[in-house]
Symmetry: C2
Subunit: 210 residues, 2 copies
C-alpha cells in the first residue's frame, strides 16, 4: 500500500505529519476494495476469479482508483491477505484443552464469519500457481497463529498434560485439518458450536477404550 502521509522535519520542530496537496485518498475506497477482493477470492474460489473489474464493481469504485494504489492484481491480493493479520486471541491458559479449543474455534470462525477458511483454501489451492502469494500469506498470517498453537502444545508437554513423545506438528495438522476441512465442506451450512471441542477432546483422549 502506498503512503498517504508525509513526514517532514524542521530544525525547531519535532517530526510533523503533513499532507500532500490535493484531494486525499478515500479511506472508504481502500477498505471497500480490500473487502471486495477478499470476498471475491472466497466466492470465486481462487486468484483467477479475482478480476480488477469485478473488484471495482463490487467496491463501487472506478478501476482507476484501484490502479492508483496497486500496480497489478497480485499486489492487491497480497495487501488484502495482509489485512487478515490480526491480534492473537487471548488464551486463558487454564489448561491445554481450553487453549486448544480457543485456537481451534478461531481457526474455523473468526468474528462470526468463515471468510478466513475460504481465503485459506483458495490461497492454498493456488499455491503452485502463485507461490509468492502463498509464501507471504503463510509467513505473515498463518505461521504466527501456528506458532501460538505450537507453544501451547509445548507447554502442555512440559506441564505433563501431554505425553512427552507427542508429535507437535502432527497434532497441529490434525486439529487444523479437521476444522478447516469440516468448515469448508459444510459451506454456509450448520457448524455445531461444540465441533472444535469435540475435535480437541478426541485428539487428547483418543477413541479406544481405556
Amino acid at each position: 500500500m502506498t503512503e498517504t502521509t508525509h513526514m517532514t522535519e524542521t530544525m525547531a520542530d519535532t517530526a510533523v505529519t503533513t499532507r500532500p496537496p490535493g484531494r486525499p485518498r478515500s479511506e472508504r475506497a481502500d477498505k471497500a476494495i480490500i473487502d471486495a477482493t477478499l470476498a471475491l477470492l472466497v466466492e470465486e474460489g481462487g486468484v483467477a476469479g479475482v478480476t480488477i473489474e469485478a473488484v471495482a464493481a463490487r467496491a463501487c469504485v472506478g478501476k482507476t482508483t484501484i490502479y492508483r494504489r496497486w500496480p497489478n492484481k497480485e499486489a492487491l491480493i497480497i495487501d488484502a491477505l495482509a489485512s487478515l493479520k490480526e491480534p492473537q486471541p487471548e488464551l486463558g491458559g487454564a489448561s491445554v484443552r481450553d487453549d486448544l479449543i480457543s485456537l481451534a474455534k478461531v481457526t474455523g470462525v473468526e468474528k462470526g464469519d468463515r471468510r478466513r477458511v475460504g481465503v485459506y483454501w483458495s490461497v492454498f489451492g493456488d499455491g503452485d500457481k502463485h507461490p509468492e502469494l502463498h509464501r507471504r500469506f503463510m509467513r505473515d498470517v498463518v505461521e504466527p497463529r501456528r506458532e501460538v498453537m505450537r507453544s501451547v502444545l509445548r507447554g502442555g508437554i512440559e506441564k505433563g498434560e501431554l505425553r512427552p513423545d507427542t508429535d507437535i506438528e502432527l497434532v497441529m495438522w490434525i486439529i487444523t485439518g479437521a476444522i478447516v476441512h469440516r468448515v469448508k465442506a459444510y459451506g454456509a451450512g450448520p457448524m455445531p458450536d461444540d465441533f472444535a471441542e469435540k475435535v480437541v477432546d478426541t485428539v487428547l483422549r483418543g477413541v479406544t477404550p481405556r
Copy 2:
C-alpha cells in the same frame, strides 16, 4: 460421454455390436483428454484454470475433437472426475487400526501420485461456483470411500475396539482432514510413509498420558 457403438437387433440374431460408418473415434484421444483435464484441474487450482484450448494443447488434440465428445467445459470435467471412480482398496480387516491406515494412505496417495488430493481440493474450492460438479464428485467418487471408512469405524465399535460413544463422522473429518491438509500443504515435497499411521494412532490413543 457419447456412445461409440450401436446395438442392433435382428430377428434371428441376438444383440450384436456393430459399428457406425466412418472413421471410429480415437480411444487414445479420449484418454489423453481426460488426463489433460485432470492435470490442469490440479495444476491451475480450479475449474477456471481448465481451458478447452489448454486441454487440447496438452492432449495433442484439436479442439474439435473435444467438442465432438462434450458439449462444454463443465460436462468434460464431470466426466473427468467420474473417471476417478476406482475399485475400493482391499481391507485386511485384521484390526480397525490396520484398515484405517490403509484407507488413510489411499486418501493421500493413490497409485503413487497425489493428483487425487489436488482434484479434491480444487473441486471443493469451486463448490460454491460449480455446485453440480461438486455434488456429483462427492456422490460418485468421495462418498463411496467415506462409506467404507464409516463401516470400518462402525465395525470397530461393535467389536469393542472403539468406544461405543465414538462420533464416527467426527473421526472421519479428523483423519481425512489431516491427510488432505498435510498432502496439499507439502505439495510435491516429502510425505513420510508413516504419516498415515501416526495420524491413525494419534486418533486412536490420544496424546494425553494414560
